[in-house]
């Protein structure tokens, strides 16, 4: 799907500045000089095309009592899909990427206690037979930004 200038403006707005008011789409429409119906139909199109993954609440997971960690695992190349199926089955594992390194499978775990993280890692290890897993909990946060400015793209 090709994005036009209006799509990009709309994407920038909905990433950062979504109004919490009775008719938020109308307020966005006024900023863009288009109708509320057009905002709704464009957002639907962007979601159907999976450019917008989700439009909803973005929460402070720490404040909700959850702690995150990054884990890395050495997975033989011919077992990636099978091991990913085990890893991805946990709802608290929200991101999983294959990266170019000996430790090639990198995933994040969000859980409401360190014991739960340990339990998940133990289960993954038992089920896959892979014992070399790094657990790298965050000690300091310097920046967490998930917005992408689209004008220059």
């Amino acid at each position: 799907m090709k994005l036009d200038a209006l799509d990009k403006k709309l994407l920038n707005l909905v990433q950062t500045d979504f109004p919490i008011v009775s008719r938020p789409y109308k307020e966005l429409a006024e900023k863009l000089n288009i109708t509320e119906e057009e905002v709704l139909s464009r957002l639907k199109r962007l979601m159907d095309a999976d450019i917008i993954r989700r439009l909803g609440g973005i929460f402070d997971s720490r404040k909700l009592g959850y702690r995150g960690t990054l884990c890395a695992m050495k997975v033989p190349a011919d077992r990636v899909d099978e091991v990913a199926a085990v890893v991805n089955s946990y709802p608290g594992i929200t991101h999983n990427y294959l990266r170019e390194h000996e430790y090639n499978m990198w995933f994040t775990i969000l859980a409401d206690s360190p014991q739960k993280v340990e339990k998940i890692l133990q289960e993954i290890s038992t089920e896959t037979g892979i014992t070399d897993i790094l657990n790298l909990p965050a000690e300091r946060f310097f920046k967490v930004m998930v917005n992408f400015e689209l004008n220059g793209v």
Partner: protein
Amino acid sequence: MLTELEKNIIKALQAGLPLVSRPFAQLGLQFGLAEEEMLNKVNELKQKGYLRRIGAALRHQRVGYVANAMVVWRVPEDRAKEVGEKLAQHPEVTHCYQRKTGKHWPYNLYTMIHKQTREECKALAEEMARSVGVADYRLLFSTRELKKSSMTYFAD
């Protein structure tokens, strides 16, 4: 402490805001809340810091950022804070964390960078390295997204 109602509202907002003219009125229906009460609850969650904001999460590979690298840095413990703060200032860095190290894994700072090409990622990492005077770093390019989803809070 969050009430059961608040937890359920968080779950609903996490699932997504309906694409209708009055989304908060529609959300309120499932909790027996009028539109205004629903808006008050959402604003309250925001004021208390549970809700950062309502917004869209994008699949960034689809909007032009095709090279994603995690750059890991080995920084002396007593410089970690200073270096982390400096690296975080680069506008191309979306995430910057200090993490515990592992047995055979000495890297303690992590930055995520997103560019159009791998070469641009490498050049940026070099520039970042120079700016903080840290030579021990590696770029781990992502080659495949195996999972990217949103968290389900209070699922159990």
